[in-house]
Protein backbone atom coordinates (compact mmCIF):
# COMPACT_ATOMS: atom_id res chain seq x y z
CA UNK A 1 0.00 0.00 0.00
CA UNK A 2 2.88 2.38 0.70
CA UNK A 3 3.97 2.20 -2.90
CA UNK A 4 0.51 3.04 -4.18
CA UNK A 5 0.16 5.99 -1.80
CA UNK A 6 3.46 7.39 -2.95
CA UNK A 7 2.33 7.03 -6.54
CA UNK A 8 -1.13 8.37 -5.89
CA UNK A 9 -0.29 11.57 -4.06
CA UNK A 10 1.59 13.34 -6.86
CA UNK A 11 -1.04 12.26 -9.36
CA UNK A 12 -3.87 13.60 -7.20
CA UNK A 13 -1.96 16.83 -6.55
CA UNK A 14 -1.34 17.33 -10.25
CA UNK A 15 -5.00 16.74 -10.99
CA UNK A 16 -6.06 19.24 -8.34
CA UNK A 17 -3.70 21.91 -9.64
CA UNK A 18 -4.95 21.46 -13.20
CA UNK A 19 -8.56 21.66 -12.12
CA UNK A 20 -8.11 24.70 -9.91
CA UNK A 21 -6.23 26.98 -12.30
CA UNK A 22 -7.75 30.44 -12.05
CA UNK A 23 -9.77 31.87 -14.89
CA UNK A 24 -7.70 33.60 -17.50
CA UNK A 25 -8.93 36.08 -20.01
CA UNK A 26 -6.30 35.37 -22.61
CA UNK A 27 -7.98 36.91 -25.59
CA UNK A 28 -10.02 39.68 -24.03
CA UNK A 29 -11.50 41.76 -26.78
CA UNK A 30 -11.65 45.46 -26.09
CA UNK A 31 -12.55 45.92 -29.74
CA UNK A 32 -13.93 48.96 -31.48
CA UNK A 33 -17.56 47.90 -31.47
CA UNK A 34 -20.03 49.46 -29.05
CA UNK A 35 -23.66 48.82 -28.25
CA UNK A 36 -26.43 50.66 -26.43
CA UNK A 37 -29.72 49.09 -25.42
CA UNK A 38 -32.27 51.91 -25.60
CA UNK A 39 -34.78 51.73 -22.80
CA UNK A 40 -37.77 54.00 -22.28
CA UNK A 41 -37.66 57.16 -20.18
CA UNK A 42 -40.62 59.18 -18.99
CA UNK A 43 -43.13 56.33 -19.39
CA UNK A 44 -42.55 56.14 -23.11
CA UNK A 45 -43.43 52.74 -24.55
CA UNK A 46 -40.61 52.25 -27.01
CA UNK A 47 -37.30 50.45 -26.98
CA UNK A 48 -34.42 49.88 -29.32
CA UNK A 49 -30.76 49.26 -29.79
CA UNK A 50 -27.82 51.09 -31.36
CA UNK A 51 -24.47 49.72 -32.41
CA UNK A 52 -21.43 51.80 -33.31
CA UNK A 53 -18.15 50.70 -34.83
CA UNK A 54 -15.30 53.14 -34.38
CA UNK A 55 -12.39 53.41 -36.82
CA UNK A 56 -10.29 56.36 -35.72
CA UNK A 57 -12.87 59.14 -35.47
CA UNK A 58 -15.22 57.64 -38.05
CA UNK A 59 -18.25 55.87 -36.62
CA UNK A 60 -20.56 53.47 -38.44
CA UNK A 61 -23.88 53.67 -36.65
CA UNK A 62 -26.70 51.15 -36.95
CA UNK A 63 -29.83 51.66 -34.92
CA UNK A 64 -33.33 50.34 -34.57
CA UNK A 65 -36.04 51.65 -32.32
CA UNK A 66 -39.80 51.35 -32.28
CA UNK A 67 -42.84 52.09 -30.19
CA UNK A 68 -42.39 55.87 -30.02
CA UNK A 69 -45.01 58.56 -30.70
CA UNK A 70 -45.86 58.43 -34.41
CA UNK A 71 -47.73 61.66 -35.11
CA UNK A 72 -47.16 65.29 -34.10
CA UNK A 73 -50.31 67.18 -35.02
CA UNK A 74 -50.98 66.16 -38.58
CA UNK A 75 -47.41 65.22 -39.53
CA UNK A 76 -45.02 62.49 -38.51
CA UNK A 77 -43.35 62.97 -35.12
CA UNK A 78 -39.68 63.96 -35.43
CA UNK A 79 -37.41 62.31 -32.88
CA UNK A 80 -34.15 64.19 -32.54
CA UNK A 81 -31.38 61.89 -31.29
CA UNK A 82 -27.83 62.41 -30.11
CA UNK A 83 -24.69 60.99 -28.66
CA UNK A 84 -24.44 62.81 -25.33
CA UNK A 85 -21.11 63.25 -23.55
CA UNK A 86 -19.59 64.93 -20.53
CA UNK A 87 -22.03 63.63 -17.91
CA UNK A 88 -21.90 60.68 -15.53
CA UNK A 89 -22.33 58.21 -18.39
CA UNK A 90 -25.73 57.18 -17.08
CA UNK A 91 -29.39 57.43 -17.96
CA UNK A 92 -31.37 59.61 -15.53
CA UNK A 93 -33.76 58.07 -13.02
CA UNK A 94 -37.19 59.58 -12.26
CA UNK A 95 -35.47 61.29 -9.31
CA UNK A 96 -33.93 63.73 -11.82
CA UNK A 97 -37.37 65.34 -12.24
CA UNK A 98 -36.43 68.53 -10.34
CA UNK A 99 -39.70 70.43 -10.91
CA UNK A 100 -41.91 67.41 -10.15
CA UNK A 101 -44.01 67.68 -13.28
CA UNK A 102 -43.62 63.95 -13.94
CA UNK A 103 -41.19 64.49 -16.82
CA UNK A 104 -37.40 64.36 -16.77
CA UNK A 105 -36.73 67.12 -19.28
CA UNK A 106 -33.62 67.17 -21.44
CA UNK A 107 -32.08 69.76 -19.10
CA UNK A 108 -32.99 67.79 -15.96
CA UNK A 109 -31.36 64.69 -17.45
CA UNK A 110 -28.15 66.49 -18.41
CA UNK A 111 -26.16 65.75 -15.21
CA UNK A 112 -26.60 62.03 -15.96
CA UNK A 113 -25.84 62.01 -19.69
CA UNK A 114 -24.14 65.36 -20.35
CA UNK A 115 -24.53 67.63 -23.35
CA UNK A 116 -24.91 66.89 -27.05
CA UNK A 117 -21.66 65.74 -28.68
CA UNK A 118 -23.06 64.41 -31.96
CA UNK A 119 -26.46 64.74 -33.59
CA UNK A 120 -27.65 61.48 -35.11
CA UNK A 121 -29.47 63.15 -37.98
CA UNK A 122 -30.60 61.28 -41.08
CA UNK A 123 -28.80 63.70 -43.40
CA UNK A 124 -26.58 66.81 -43.31
CA UNK A 125 -25.22 68.38 -40.13
CA UNK A 126 -24.24 66.01 -37.31
CA UNK A 127 -22.78 68.68 -35.00
CA UNK A 128 -24.41 69.77 -31.72
CA UNK A 129 -25.77 72.78 -33.67
CA UNK A 130 -28.21 70.45 -35.44
CA UNK A 131 -29.36 69.05 -32.12
CA UNK A 132 -32.93 70.38 -32.32
CA UNK A 133 -33.34 70.47 -36.10
CA UNK A 134 -36.48 68.42 -36.49
CA UNK A 135 -36.26 68.57 -40.30
CA UNK A 136 -33.28 66.19 -40.38
CA UNK A 137 -34.29 63.94 -37.47
CA UNK A 138 -35.75 60.46 -37.97
CA UNK A 139 -39.52 60.52 -37.71
CA UNK A 140 -42.44 58.24 -37.03
CA UNK A 141 -43.03 55.46 -34.52
CA UNK A 142 -40.04 53.37 -35.54
CA UNK A 143 -36.81 53.68 -37.47
CA UNK A 144 -33.99 51.66 -38.93
CA UNK A 145 -31.04 54.04 -38.99
CA UNK A 146 -27.65 53.57 -40.66
CA UNK A 147 -25.10 56.34 -41.05
CA UNK A 148 -21.35 56.81 -41.13
CA UNK A 149 -20.36 59.91 -39.16
CA UNK A 150 -17.08 61.68 -38.46
CA UNK A 151 -17.05 62.35 -34.73
CA UNK A 152 -15.61 65.19 -32.67
CA UNK A 153 -12.68 64.34 -30.40
CA UNK A 154 -14.97 64.87 -27.37
CA UNK A 155 -17.39 62.26 -28.67
CA UNK A 156 -14.58 59.77 -29.40
CA UNK A 157 -13.13 60.32 -25.92
CA UNK A 158 -16.50 59.77 -24.25
CA UNK A 159 -17.21 56.63 -26.29
CA UNK A 160 -13.83 55.11 -25.46
CA UNK A 161 -14.24 56.11 -21.83
CA UNK A 162 -17.66 54.48 -21.59
CA UNK A 163 -19.47 57.73 -20.73
CA UNK A 164 -21.22 58.34 -24.05
CA UNK A 165 -25.01 58.05 -23.85
CA UNK A 166 -27.53 57.71 -26.68
CA UNK A 167 -30.71 59.73 -26.16
CA UNK A 168 -33.76 59.74 -28.45
CA UNK A 169 -36.22 62.55 -27.80
CA UNK A 170 -39.93 63.14 -28.31
CA UNK A 171 -42.80 61.96 -26.14
CA UNK A 172 -46.45 61.36 -26.89
CA UNK A 173 -48.03 64.46 -25.24
CA UNK A 174 -51.07 62.50 -24.09
CA UNK A 175 -48.90 60.39 -21.78
CA UNK A 176 -47.81 63.49 -19.83
CA UNK A 177 -49.35 64.95 -16.68
CA UNK A 178 -51.80 67.85 -17.18
CA UNK A 179 -49.17 70.20 -15.79
CA UNK A 180 -46.48 68.93 -18.15
CA UNK A 181 -48.80 69.07 -21.16
CA UNK A 182 -49.06 72.84 -20.69
CA UNK A 183 -45.30 73.41 -20.41
CA UNK A 184 -42.94 74.75 -23.05
CA UNK A 185 -39.85 72.89 -24.18
CA UNK A 186 -36.71 73.70 -22.20
CA UNK A 187 -34.75 73.57 -25.46
CA UNK A 188 -37.02 75.09 -28.10
CA UNK A 189 -39.59 77.39 -26.42
CA UNK A 190 -41.78 77.37 -29.51
CA UNK A 191 -42.36 73.64 -29.00
CA UNK A 192 -44.21 71.89 -26.18
CA UNK A 193 -42.19 70.08 -23.48
CA UNK A 194 -43.21 66.66 -24.87
CA UNK A 195 -41.61 67.34 -28.26
CA UNK A 196 -38.04 67.52 -26.96
CA UNK A 197 -38.07 65.47 -23.75
CA UNK A 198 -36.07 62.22 -23.71
CA UNK A 199 -38.00 59.10 -24.71
CA UNK A 200 -35.23 56.48 -25.03
CA UNK A 201 -31.84 56.31 -23.38
CA UNK A 202 -28.92 53.87 -23.41
CA UNK A 203 -25.29 53.99 -22.30
CA UNK A 204 -22.90 53.14 -25.12
CA UNK A 205 -20.61 50.34 -23.94
CA UNK A 206 -17.87 48.39 -25.67
CA UNK A 207 -19.11 44.97 -26.73
CA UNK A 208 -17.52 42.33 -24.51
CA UNK A 209 -14.88 39.87 -25.61
CA UNK A 210 -15.35 36.11 -25.43
CA UNK A 211 -16.11 34.84 -21.92
CA UNK A 212 -14.08 32.15 -20.14
CA UNK A 213 -16.90 29.90 -19.00
CA UNK A 214 -15.23 26.79 -17.73
CA UNK A 215 -12.56 25.30 -15.50
CA UNK A 216 -11.70 22.19 -17.48
CA UNK A 217 -12.84 19.55 -15.00
CA UNK A 218 -14.68 17.68 -17.74
CA UNK A 219 -11.98 18.11 -20.38
CA UNK A 220 -9.53 15.31 -21.22
CA UNK A 221 -9.18 12.45 -18.74
CA UNK A 222 -10.97 13.07 -15.46
CA UNK A 223 -10.76 11.37 -12.06
CA UNK A 224 -7.02 10.89 -12.33
CA UNK A 225 -6.96 10.16 -8.60
CA UNK A 226 -9.39 7.30 -9.05
CA UNK A 227 -7.37 5.93 -11.96
CA UNK A 228 -4.23 6.17 -9.83
CA UNK A 229 -5.83 4.43 -6.87
CA UNK A 230 -7.35 1.70 -9.06
CA UNK A 231 -4.11 1.17 -10.96
CA UNK A 232 -2.11 1.15 -7.74
CA UNK A 233 -4.35 -1.41 -6.08
CA UNK A 234 -4.25 -3.62 -9.14
CA UNK A 235 -0.46 -3.42 -9.26
CA UNK A 236 -0.10 -4.22 -5.55
CA UNK A 237 -2.56 -7.10 -5.84
CA UNK A 238 -0.82 -8.58 -8.86
CA UNK A 239 2.57 -8.22 -7.19
CA UNK A 240 1.21 -9.89 -4.08
CA UNK A 241 -0.07 -12.83 -6.07
CA UNK A 242 3.24 -13.28 -7.88
CA UNK A 243 5.25 -13.08 -4.66
CA UNK A 244 2.81 -15.41 -2.93
CA UNK A 245 3.13 -18.00 -5.66
CA UNK A 246 6.92 -17.86 -5.52
CA UNK A 247 6.86 -18.39 -1.75
CA UNK A 248 4.54 -21.36 -2.24
CA UNK A 249 6.90 -22.88 -4.79
CA UNK A 250 9.78 -22.48 -2.39
CA UNK A 251 7.68 -24.21 0.27
CA UNK A 252 6.88 -27.14 -1.99
CA UNK A 253 10.58 -27.58 -2.89
CA UNK A 254 11.67 -27.72 0.75
CA UNK A 255 9.00 -30.26 1.61
CA UNK A 256 10.15 -32.80 -0.99
Amino acid sequence: MKTSKRLLLPIAAAAAITAMSPLAYANAGTGASYGATLNPLNHSTGSGMLTLTLNGNVASVTEHWSGLASMFGTGPFSHVQHIHAGGQGMCPTPAADANHDGVVSTTEGAPAYGGIATTLSVTGDTSPAAGTDIKIAPSGASTNYTRTITLSSDAVKAIKGGTAVIVVHGLDPTTLSKKAQGEKSDLVPSLPLAATSPALCGVLTAMPGAPQTGYGSTAGTQDLGLFGLGGGLLAVGALGMVVGRRRTRVGIDSQS
Partner: protein
Protein backbone atom coordinates in the same frame (compact mmCIF):
# COMPACT_ATOMS: atom_id res chain seq x y z
CA UNK B 1 -3.82 -20.39 -14.02
CA UNK B 2 -7.17 -20.16 -12.35
CA UNK B 3 -7.38 -23.52 -10.54
CA UNK B 4 -3.77 -23.42 -9.39
CA UNK B 5 -4.32 -20.91 -6.55
CA UNK B 6 -6.83 -23.22 -4.91
CA UNK B 7 -4.41 -26.10 -4.89
CA UNK B 8 -1.91 -23.68 -3.39
CA UNK B 9 -4.31 -22.76 -0.63
CA UNK B 10 -5.08 -26.38 0.08
CA UNK B 11 -1.46 -27.36 0.31
CA UNK B 12 0.08 -24.24 1.81
CA UNK B 13 -1.82 -23.63 5.03
CA UNK B 14 -3.67 -20.53 6.45
CA UNK B 15 -1.01 -17.81 6.27
CA UNK B 16 -0.23 -18.31 2.63
CA UNK B 17 -3.96 -18.50 1.88
CA UNK B 18 -4.62 -15.23 3.62
CA UNK B 19 -1.76 -13.50 1.84
CA UNK B 20 -3.09 -14.65 -1.47
CA UNK B 21 -6.65 -13.69 -0.67
CA UNK B 22 -5.57 -10.18 0.34
CA UNK B 23 -3.66 -9.79 -2.94
CA UNK B 24 -6.66 -11.02 -4.88
CA UNK B 25 -9.01 -8.60 -3.11
CA UNK B 26 -6.61 -5.70 -3.75
CA UNK B 27 -6.37 -6.54 -7.44
CA UNK B 28 -10.13 -6.94 -7.77
CA UNK B 29 -10.64 -3.64 -5.94
CA UNK B 30 -8.22 -1.99 -8.32
CA UNK B 31 -10.08 -3.30 -11.36
CA UNK B 32 -13.36 -2.14 -9.84
CA UNK B 33 -12.04 1.41 -9.28
CA UNK B 34 -10.69 1.54 -12.83
CA UNK B 35 -14.09 0.53 -14.19
CA UNK B 36 -15.75 3.21 -12.03
CA UNK B 37 -13.25 5.83 -13.24
CA UNK B 38 -13.82 4.91 -16.90
CA UNK B 39 -17.58 5.00 -16.45
CA UNK B 40 -17.35 8.40 -14.70
CA UNK B 41 -15.69 10.05 -17.69
CA UNK B 42 -17.87 12.89 -18.96
CA UNK B 43 -17.43 14.49 -22.32
CA UNK B 44 -19.33 17.60 -23.34
CA UNK B 45 -21.16 17.32 -26.66
CA UNK B 46 -19.99 19.30 -29.68
CA UNK B 47 -22.35 20.96 -32.17
CA UNK B 48 -23.49 18.58 -34.88
CA UNK B 49 -23.01 19.78 -38.48
CA UNK B 50 -26.77 19.57 -38.97
CA UNK B 51 -27.25 22.19 -36.23
CA UNK B 52 -25.18 24.83 -38.11
CA UNK B 53 -28.30 26.74 -39.19
CA UNK B 54 -28.64 30.40 -40.07
CA UNK B 55 -27.63 33.10 -37.60
CA UNK B 56 -29.97 35.90 -38.68
CA UNK B 57 -33.50 35.44 -37.44
CA UNK B 58 -34.77 38.19 -39.72
CA UNK B 59 -38.01 36.97 -41.24
CA UNK B 60 -37.87 36.04 -44.89
CA UNK B 61 -39.19 38.99 -46.87
CA UNK B 62 -42.47 38.10 -48.49
CA UNK B 63 -42.85 39.29 -52.08
CA UNK B 64 -45.49 42.02 -52.55
CA UNK B 65 -47.52 39.65 -54.70
CA UNK B 66 -47.67 36.73 -52.37
CA UNK B 67 -49.14 33.78 -54.20
CA UNK B 68 -52.08 32.42 -52.31
CA UNK B 69 -51.11 34.52 -49.31
CA UNK B 70 -48.58 32.01 -48.05
CA UNK B 71 -46.16 33.84 -45.84
CA UNK B 72 -42.83 32.12 -45.41
CA UNK B 73 -41.55 33.86 -42.32
CA UNK B 74 -39.84 32.33 -39.34
CA UNK B 75 -41.68 34.81 -37.14
CA UNK B 76 -45.35 35.61 -37.22
CA UNK B 77 -44.59 39.20 -38.20
CA UNK B 78 -47.48 41.32 -39.36
CA UNK B 79 -45.93 42.59 -42.55
CA UNK B 80 -42.50 41.74 -43.80
CA UNK B 81 -42.76 44.25 -46.62
CA UNK B 82 -42.30 46.99 -44.02
CA UNK B 83 -38.68 46.61 -42.92
CA UNK B 84 -39.33 48.76 -39.85
CA UNK B 85 -42.19 46.68 -38.56
CA UNK B 86 -41.37 45.08 -35.26
CA UNK B 87 -42.34 41.59 -34.26
CA UNK B 88 -45.79 41.69 -32.65
CA UNK B 89 -44.28 39.50 -29.94
CA UNK B 90 -41.67 42.09 -28.92
CA UNK B 91 -41.78 42.71 -25.18
CA UNK B 92 -40.89 45.68 -23.01
CA UNK B 93 -37.77 45.44 -20.85
CA UNK B 94 -37.89 43.06 -17.87
CA UNK B 95 -34.93 41.21 -16.37
CA UNK B 96 -34.72 37.44 -16.81
CA UNK B 97 -35.39 35.34 -13.69
CA UNK B 98 -35.11 31.74 -14.88
CA UNK B 99 -34.47 29.64 -17.97
CA UNK B 100 -35.76 26.22 -19.04
CA UNK B 101 -34.43 24.18 -21.98
CA UNK B 102 -36.37 20.87 -22.06
CA UNK B 103 -34.22 19.36 -24.85
CA UNK B 104 -31.18 19.20 -22.55
CA UNK B 105 -33.04 18.95 -19.26
CA UNK B 106 -31.93 22.39 -18.10
CA UNK B 107 -33.63 24.60 -15.55
CA UNK B 108 -31.72 27.40 -13.85
CA UNK B 109 -32.05 30.75 -12.17
CA UNK B 110 -30.56 33.68 -14.06
CA UNK B 111 -28.20 36.25 -12.54
CA UNK B 112 -26.87 39.46 -14.15
CA UNK B 113 -23.22 40.03 -15.11
CA UNK B 114 -21.25 42.89 -16.63
CA UNK B 115 -17.75 43.02 -18.01
CA UNK B 116 -14.33 42.33 -16.53
CA UNK B 117 -11.84 45.20 -16.31
CA UNK B 118 -10.15 43.79 -19.42
CA UNK B 119 -13.38 44.08 -21.41
CA UNK B 120 -14.31 40.40 -21.57
CA UNK B 121 -17.74 39.22 -20.52
CA UNK B 122 -17.73 38.52 -16.77
CA UNK B 123 -18.78 35.02 -15.67
CA UNK B 124 -20.54 33.58 -12.59
CA UNK B 125 -18.01 33.35 -9.77
CA UNK B 126 -17.41 30.51 -7.28
CA UNK B 127 -20.21 30.47 -4.74
CA UNK B 128 -23.95 29.86 -4.88
CA UNK B 129 -24.29 31.38 -8.37
CA UNK B 130 -21.42 29.50 -10.06
CA UNK B 131 -23.70 27.03 -11.82
CA UNK B 132 -26.40 29.53 -12.77
CA UNK B 133 -27.02 31.07 -16.15
CA UNK B 134 -25.97 34.74 -16.43
CA UNK B 135 -27.50 37.54 -18.48
CA UNK B 136 -25.21 40.28 -19.84
CA UNK B 137 -26.82 43.32 -18.25
CA UNK B 138 -26.00 45.74 -21.08
CA UNK B 139 -27.77 43.57 -23.65
CA UNK B 140 -31.54 43.73 -24.20
CA UNK B 141 -33.63 41.69 -21.79
CA UNK B 142 -35.01 38.46 -23.33
CA UNK B 143 -38.02 39.36 -25.45
CA UNK B 144 -36.92 42.95 -26.11
CA UNK B 145 -35.86 43.78 -29.67
CA UNK B 146 -32.20 42.99 -30.25
CA UNK B 147 -29.82 40.23 -29.17
CA UNK B 148 -30.21 39.27 -25.52
CA UNK B 149 -27.06 37.50 -24.34
CA UNK B 150 -26.98 34.67 -21.78
CA UNK B 151 -23.92 32.62 -20.80
CA UNK B 152 -23.11 29.73 -18.50
CA UNK B 153 -20.13 27.62 -17.49
CA UNK B 154 -19.53 24.32 -19.30
CA UNK B 155 -17.94 22.93 -16.14
CA UNK B 156 -16.75 23.92 -12.70
CA UNK B 157 -13.86 22.43 -10.73
CA UNK B 158 -16.27 19.72 -9.59
CA UNK B 159 -17.67 18.56 -12.94
CA UNK B 160 -20.34 19.55 -15.44
CA UNK B 161 -21.95 22.98 -15.03
CA UNK B 162 -25.21 24.47 -16.30
CA UNK B 163 -24.31 24.71 -20.02
CA UNK B 164 -22.45 21.36 -20.18
CA UNK B 165 -24.84 20.03 -22.79
CA UNK B 166 -25.51 23.32 -24.62
CA UNK B 167 -23.84 22.13 -27.84
CA UNK B 168 -26.34 19.25 -28.09
CA UNK B 169 -29.12 21.70 -29.01
CA UNK B 170 -30.60 21.53 -32.50
CA UNK B 171 -32.48 24.08 -34.61
CA UNK B 172 -36.11 23.90 -33.59
CA UNK B 173 -35.43 23.25 -29.90
CA UNK B 174 -37.25 25.57 -27.49
CA UNK B 175 -35.75 27.86 -24.84
CA UNK B 176 -38.14 29.42 -22.31
CA UNK B 177 -36.98 32.45 -20.33
CA UNK B 178 -39.26 33.62 -17.53
CA UNK B 179 -38.82 37.29 -16.69
CA UNK B 180 -39.34 39.21 -13.48
CA UNK B 181 -42.62 40.59 -14.90
CA UNK B 182 -43.81 36.93 -14.98
CA UNK B 183 -44.04 36.76 -18.75
CA UNK B 184 -42.22 33.86 -20.39
CA UNK B 185 -40.44 34.50 -23.66
CA UNK B 186 -40.16 31.30 -25.70
CA UNK B 187 -37.33 31.20 -28.24
CA UNK B 188 -36.66 28.68 -31.00
CA UNK B 189 -33.08 27.72 -31.85
CA UNK B 190 -32.00 28.66 -35.38
CA UNK B 191 -28.24 28.03 -35.27
CA UNK B 192 -25.63 26.28 -33.10
CA UNK B 193 -22.05 27.29 -33.85
CA UNK B 194 -18.61 26.39 -32.60
CA UNK B 195 -15.75 28.92 -32.65
CA UNK B 196 -12.42 27.15 -32.17
CA UNK B 197 -10.61 30.11 -30.59
CA UNK B 198 -11.66 33.28 -28.80
CA UNK B 199 -10.20 35.24 -31.75
CA UNK B 200 -12.92 33.76 -33.95
CA UNK B 201 -15.64 34.80 -31.48
CA UNK B 202 -17.97 36.94 -33.65
CA UNK B 203 -18.49 39.79 -31.19
CA UNK B 204 -20.58 42.07 -33.41
CA UNK B 205 -22.70 39.21 -34.72
CA UNK B 206 -23.45 38.10 -31.18
CA UNK B 207 -23.93 41.45 -29.44
CA UNK B 208 -24.89 43.73 -32.32
CA UNK B 209 -26.93 42.04 -35.06
CA UNK B 210 -30.66 41.50 -35.53
CA UNK B 211 -31.36 44.80 -33.76
CA UNK B 212 -35.01 44.90 -34.80
CA UNK B 213 -35.92 41.38 -33.67
CA UNK B 214 -36.12 39.75 -30.26
CA UNK B 215 -33.30 37.21 -30.36
CA UNK B 216 -31.29 35.22 -27.85
CA UNK B 217 -27.66 34.08 -27.77
CA UNK B 218 -26.48 31.39 -25.35
CA UNK B 219 -22.72 31.19 -24.87
CA UNK B 220 -20.43 28.67 -23.22
CA UNK B 221 -16.81 27.55 -23.55
CA UNK B 222 -15.37 24.81 -25.71
CA UNK B 223 -12.10 23.41 -27.00
CA UNK B 224 -9.98 22.82 -23.89
CA UNK B 225 -6.29 23.47 -24.43
CA UNK B 226 -4.25 21.00 -22.35
CA UNK B 227 -1.08 23.10 -22.56
CA UNK B 228 -2.61 26.29 -21.15
CA UNK B 229 -5.24 24.56 -19.02
CA UNK B 230 -8.02 26.76 -20.38
CA UNK B 231 -10.89 26.56 -22.80
CA UNK B 232 -9.91 28.54 -25.88
CA UNK B 233 -13.12 28.36 -27.92
CA UNK B 234 -16.83 29.01 -27.56
CA UNK B 235 -20.12 27.38 -28.44
CA UNK B 236 -22.90 29.85 -29.29
CA UNK B 237 -26.59 29.04 -29.72
CA UNK B 238 -28.66 31.54 -31.72
CA UNK B 239 -32.42 31.62 -31.15
CA UNK B 240 -35.35 33.92 -31.91
CA UNK B 241 -38.60 34.72 -30.13
CA UNK B 242 -41.54 32.62 -31.32
CA UNK B 243 -44.06 32.77 -28.48
CA UNK B 244 -44.92 34.69 -25.34
CA UNK B 245 -46.74 33.23 -22.36
CA UNK B 246 -48.24 35.67 -19.92
CA UNK B 247 -48.67 34.75 -16.28
CA UNK B 248 -52.15 33.40 -15.59
CA UNK B 249 -53.05 33.27 -19.29
CA UNK B 250 -53.22 29.49 -19.31
CA UNK B 251 -54.49 29.05 -15.76
Amino acid sequence: MLHRPFTVINRGGGRRGLWFLAALVAAAGGVFLLVVAVKAQQTAPTPSPSAYGKISARPTVVSPHRPGGTATSSLPTASSSDPQARSPLTLAASRPASITIPAIGLHSGVIAVGKNPDGSLAVPQPGPDLNKVAWYESSPTPGQAGPSVLEGHIDSVYGPSVFFRLAALQPGDKIAVTRTDHTTAVFTVNAVRAYATHDQFPTTEIFGSDLAFPTLRLITCSNFDQTTGHYIGNTVVFAHLTAVRRAGATE
